[in-house]
């Protein structure tokens, strides 16, 4: 069943749950995954996002999300001015992707601390989103669970250590996916959990051998 507050809701800035509210959420997700205040953003719009995005405020919504605004923030229409004030430089481009959802965007971000992130995400309707790729590695998560993203070196035993740490903390895993660029290369582990993960547990995970970087996205609760 759909959440009744997806029926009466979300509370959002118009005009479109998929093209506006979903776009804000993608921007927000990208900001969290970057883990830093974004300084530059190259944004590529595909399909319906490219066709009708401007009319739906998709461009302003994406920037608003990158700046940390929520989907009900009345400042969304003014996000371009806010970006200027916050030192975020951005450019929009049109792109044609093969086999991508019609409401897809690719963002190449650089943070103020120099961190980089490339993200491909889509807005699947009703304000729901899906992150399809992170740094070109296919992932596929929605942000509807608490989500742990672990960049690690592809080594044996690593998955076991992560899941053992989580189960010791009584965190239940709802979904888990492992993807890698190649054998022994960079791998991404995406773990969606029912319970939030405490900073202490994140610290423990961070200290595991072979970890390059951990990103944690805590589910939005209104």
């Amino acid at each position: 069943m759909l959440d009744i507050f997806d029926i009466l809701g979300p509370v959002m800035v118009g005009p479109s749950s998929s093209h506006t509210a979903g776009a804000v959420r993608i921007g927000n997700m990208a900001r969290v995954l970057l883990g830093s205040e974004p300084a530059t953003a190259e944004i590529y719009l595909h399909g319906s996002f490219a066709e009708t995005g401007r009319g739906h405020g998709t461009d302003r919504a994406l920037i608003a999300g990158l700046l940390g605004l929520r989907q009900d923030d009345m400042e969304i229409p003014n996000s371009f001015q806010l970006a200027m004030a916050n030192g975020l430089e951005f450019h929009f481009h049109v792109i044609q992707l093969r086999e991508a959802h019609p409401n897809t965007v690719i963002m190449e971000l650089t943070g103020r601390d120099g961190r980089r992130l490339k993200l491909q995400a889509c807005s699947t309707g009703g304000g729901r989103i899906r992150v399809d790729r992170l740094d070109d590695i296919p992932v596929g998560f929605s942000g509807e669970h608490h989500t742990l993203i672990i960049y690690n070196q592809d080594e044996y035993g690593f998955v076991g250590e992560v899941t053992t740490t989580l189960s010791a903390a009584r965190v239940n895993i709802a979904n888990m996916r492992l993807r890698r660029q190649g054998k022994g290369a960079l791998a991404i582990m995406v773990i969606e959990t029912d319970q939030p993960i405490s900073p202490f547990i994140l610290q423990l995970l961070q200290e595991l051998h072979g970890i390059q970087r951990i990103v944690y996205y805590q589910r939005e609760d209104e």
């Binding site: 800035v13 118009g14 229409p77």
Partner: protein, 292 residues
Amino acid sequence: MALDSMQEIFDRMHSSGKPFWQIVLETDMEEREVSRADSWERMRYTWRKMVEASDSYTGERRSHSGLVGGDGKRMRDYLATKDTVGGAFFAEMIAEALAMGESNACMRRIVAAPTAGACGVMPAVLIPLYRREHIPEDDILRALYVASGIGAVVAYKASISGASGGCQAEIGTASAMAAGALVELRGGTAEQIGHAAAMALKNLLGLICDPVAGLVEVPCVKRNVIGAANAVCAADMALAGIVSRVPVDQVIEAMGDVGRRLPIEFRETALGGLAVTPFGRQIKEKLRENPE
């Protein structure tokens, strides 16, 4: 336990002796694992955001295409000074539907119900009643639970998205939800809620989604008005004891079936209907040449 059919809600009412709104509230508590107070307060928050959107509307903003904006105010001014055809309540309802639909098109904050494009229907019927009759907020919240229960069933059995079911799935569903809410507010029975929702949905069956230039502007804003008016008619019929001959769950399934068989041109693609009239094409061209 999910809300998979109206019959299931009726059955649970009969076996538990609980009213419609309470079945929906308790389902929400189970599904989201929240307390009664949490669910109730979230509904209150949702309602207050609807009222806030109405209170803060001034009609000054214009939409991306420039085609939408100011009509809610035009209607408010008209009803304040002229003797309207449909009476004061009806005129207020029209003004609310326009104000909310415009607010959405002009990037103001609204409550999707069930979608952003159909956000004007529910507040259009509830806010004028709330203001005129000083209805206690808690009564409104019960009516909102009834509405969301109806919407959840439609979402499960058919669709609430214009891209998959046409406008009947958006404005039609909003109208069915609003009709049920009105029957609840007037103390009608669960059967009357069902009949009102069925009649509202039947009357909008087949309505296509044909937005000019693909934007949630024309004809979306004014379709909120017909959704609201239709809800009032359906609610009054049901409260008068008039029944929908076709049972409500079958009406919902028929809506889903019509939606699936609607040509793709009539499902939010802007490839048919009003979107491809000479006017519609002209607007699209104009926006392409001059996107700002």
